[in-house]
């Protein structure tokens, strides 16, 4: 490993850890130094070091090595505090908790050791946002706003001239994209006569959770549309990702779009929940629910489909591979919380920790977070006869302006090889936004 060893400032620093449960031996190290007192870990390259430990722990769990698991978890817990100053520590701590959950479920003997440790609040205890809170929450970083802006821009272009506009919003964010879309439509010269918004009811099995029903949510949106003089209709279809939204597709087939109606399907970080090939490895690829969904979507001949997803591969069956991918992706949201207030950061990291636990500790249908890379999604879309569309330059400027108002690490890039726009944090891909039309 490469370490920086500056000649000056070889301070000898003592750390005290706030562990009242333990009595410890103090050790003075003459060899290494950390430059800041607040750093807990002395060795350089912390992130990869922690990652290695996590991977070893994962291997130990899946090899049923209870003793080793116990030791590794103990060590990891030592070095990674959930309240640590560095985001690497807090990230690792989230993984430690996830591994603990996995260990306890896989190795029954460990269950008695760890007992009823409540290391992570169960899903139904996770914070439930009010819609106003959620509205503020999703704008803390460009994570979602990036996709919102890109998609809305494309949608506006696509629905130009149609008397009726039907938006199917498959979004993790409970329609947070819609107000700005309504606002944009309202300021157009030729407003549509009717705006229909359709959502699905199953978007409440993963965070963020809201504390009102979709009926209420819809009524607020309709109210808002009215205040902007847009006639709007809100429809909730009970449909679930676990069967590839088959009831939604069925509904859309039953009520096909009329000639002067635009059908736009906006997929914002939702399609990743549809089971992919790794969930049904024995079936041929064409039968994966994910492909079936896209195929059936294509046969509806929508005016436009927007696909916004996180650019990471969390689908591997191999735990070690998956953990490594997750570690090398989720460090990003942990790193972006510098400007947050402590309560915001706590909530935000809790949401990410939920996902980490799902990826690391769950298997089978319980493991819902099956994020795929941009490349894979592009392949799927093209296989299902969709063609990518470039977003307009005005959108790109708007995106850049928006990014400029957030922390310095945010950026974006346009791929020359495809028509995607990618949100980046310190150069690493975070979220991609793509727009598709049937071909």
């Amino acid at each position: 490993m490469c370490h920086a060893k500056p000649q000056e400032e070889r301070l000898v620093t003592h750390f005290s850890l706030n562990r009242t449960q333990m009595t410890r031996t103090r050790i003075i190290s003459p060899t290494r130094f950390p430059s800041l007192k607040s750093q807990r870990c002395g060795s350089g390259g912390d992130a990869s070091f922690m990652e290695q430990l996590l991977l070893h722990c994962a291997t130990a769990i899946d090899s049923n090595d209870a003793a080793l698991v116990h030791q590794l978890l103990w060590v990891l817990n030592n070095i990674a505090s959930p309240d640590g100053d560095s985001s690497t520590q807090r990230l690792t701590s989230a993984f430690v908790r996830a591994l603990l959950a996995r260990a306890v479920s896989k190795i029954p003997t460990l269950f008695s050791t760890f007992g009823n440790t409540v290391f992570q609040p169960p899903a139904d205890e996770i914070h439930r946002f009010s819609v106003v809170e959620l509205a503020g929450f999703i704008d803390l970083t460009p994570w979602h706003r990036f996709g919102f802006i890109a998609a809305n821009e494309a949608i506006l272009t696509a629905v130009e001239g149609y008397a009726k506009v039907h938006i199917v919003d498959l979004s993790l964010t409970h329609c947070m994209q819609i107000p700005t879309l309504i606002d944009a439509i309202a300021t157009k010269l030729n407003k549509p006569l009717l705006l229909k918004l359709t959502v699905v009811s199953s978007a409440s099995n993963f965070p963020p959770f809201i504390n009102i029903s979709y009926e209420e949510l819809g009524s607020k949106l309709v109210n808002f549309a009215t205040s902007r003089n847009i006639e709007m209709q809100f429809t909730i279809i009970p449909s679930t990702y676990s069967d590839g939204f088959s009831s939604l597709l069925q509904h859309l087939r039953m009520y096909p779009t009329s000639y002067n109606e635009a059908l736009v399907v906006n997929c914002h970080m939702m399609l990743r929940y549809i089971p992919d090939e790794t969930l049904t490895p024995s079936s041929p690829s064409s039968l994966s629910l994910r492909n079936v969904f896209l195929n059936q979507l294509r046969s509806l001949n929508p005016t436009m489909v927007t696909l916004i997803e996180e650019d990471a591969d969390l689908t591997s069956d191999n735990l070690v591979t998956r953990l490594s991918s997750a570690f090398n992706y989720f460090w990003i949201p942990f790193d972006t919380t510098d400007t947050f207030m402590s309560e915001q950061r706590r909530l935000y990291e809790a949401e990410i920790s939920w996902k980490i636990e799902n990826v690391v500790a769950k298997e089978g249908v319980e493991r819902v977070e099956r994020t795929e890379t941009k490349g894979r999604w592009l392949e799927r879309m093209r296989d299902n006869e969709f063609g990518g569309v470039r977003v307009r330059e005005e959108a790109v400027s708007e995106l850049k302006a928006m990014l400029g108002e957030h922390a310095v690490g945010w950026g974006m890039k346009k791929d020359d090889d495809d028509e995607s726009l990618v949100l980046t944090w310190k150069g690493h891909s975070v979220v991609f936004a793509t727009v598709w039309v049937p071909i």
Binding site: P6, Q21, T25, Q39, S43, A47, N116, G427
Partner: protein, 489 residues
Amino acid sequence: MPVDLDDSSTVSGDASVSSTGNQNPPPQSAAKKKRNLPGMPDPDSEVIALSPKTLMATNRFVCEICSKGFQRDQNLQLHRRGHNLPWKLRQRSSKEVRKKVYVCPVSGCVHHDPSRALGDLTGIKKHFCRKHGEKKFKCEKCSKSYAVQSDWKAHSKICGSKEYRCDCGTLFSRRDSFITHRAFCDVLAEESAKNHTQSKKLYPETVSESQLKSPAAVDSPPPSPPSVALVPEPAVSVETETEPQPANIVSSSVLPIRDSSDEPENNTLEVIMEEAPRTIGLNGSNDQSNNSKSVYAGLFASSSSSPSLYAASSTPSPSLFPPSSSMEPISLCLSTTGPSLFGATIQDPPQPHFLTPLLPPPQPAISATALLQKAAQMGSTGSGGSLLRGLGIVSTTSSPMELSSHDPGFGLGLGLPCSSGSGLKELMMGNSSVFDPKQTTLDFLGLGRAVGNNNPGGGGLSSALWGGGGGMDVFGSGELSDKDIGRSS
């Protein structure tokens, strides 16, 4: 003045670049030099680690005559011309220069790791300053402070330049956040109900004339009321346990309603309008004219069975769907973070209009489940604490441990498979692990010596890991042995 370069090595030495990003850095073509993105360095580049002093240094190049300092050697050379001193401008070297990337000297920092080095010297300087430096530049208008002057200047340009204020009092610097908030803010819901008939402006900042004059706004009844259609299916209810009762009833009572594809709203409008004043009084005040076909009137786009909507209700009052203005406060109560969540001055929501004659009596306000939830949220401590208890940490004897030099003869006895290329053993050896084999056995994790073959190496594991890492508190080590810890497989 020589640049103080302390350590340099290749990025791809140990740390694998490919593990960081989800894509490879763009290829370097000879014709057009593509900029490598920050934080994703070229695997062949040379890693430079500068000391904090070096990073913060400005004007390292000093003129010998007048002692004027310059940040770049080129500038110094040009200055020397003025003194009629010999000067030489360094040309771009013709041979391919090995690209340099820089790491942050602060250990624990994201950019300390060579695989996340930054390719630009200015970039790493700014990063170091921003992240680890003192924030000396303060914005006059707001409370933000910055360590890097250019950041501060950039902020000052936009600070306070545009502000959007919601009626509830919250301020926004971006229009889209403002719009999104407005759509869901209760204050808007009330206002729009009150003002709808008067076609009053709802948007203080921009309301175009055309909106006011458009027929849709002025005329009352039929032209396109908003509507919410609930598509009937056997299981419509999606509420969670925190949902107040009426919503559930709403769902079940609309079961028999079939959604027709042609516009049902106009048919039902009159029906619902009759009910409206009775059922859904948004503000509780009596200025609800029949024109408050507002949102709630259109809420249940049903045809003939709308009367059954209300008949099915088991609450004394016909209102099945308390307006969100009364809903919101409940939900805000449940949220433990409350108005302080986003630091914005979100005023307390207007008092719920529970007590008006038009509205039903309030729900068994907060359900038991919600109360429990709230208590759990408030009562839960940091997860670390409970994790520790769960891990069964016990106290150890506090014999001070001396560091001795690394004894390569010691196998840590873990015998882990090294499938990932760097086994745990190497990991720990590599950190100049230190342990004293003569240490007495300590109770480690509650696994005393008597328990099978679990223990001693474990103690060594921990101290080995952290013996080398400056000043960490660790447990005293247990006795080490060469044999495997003995995994039960």
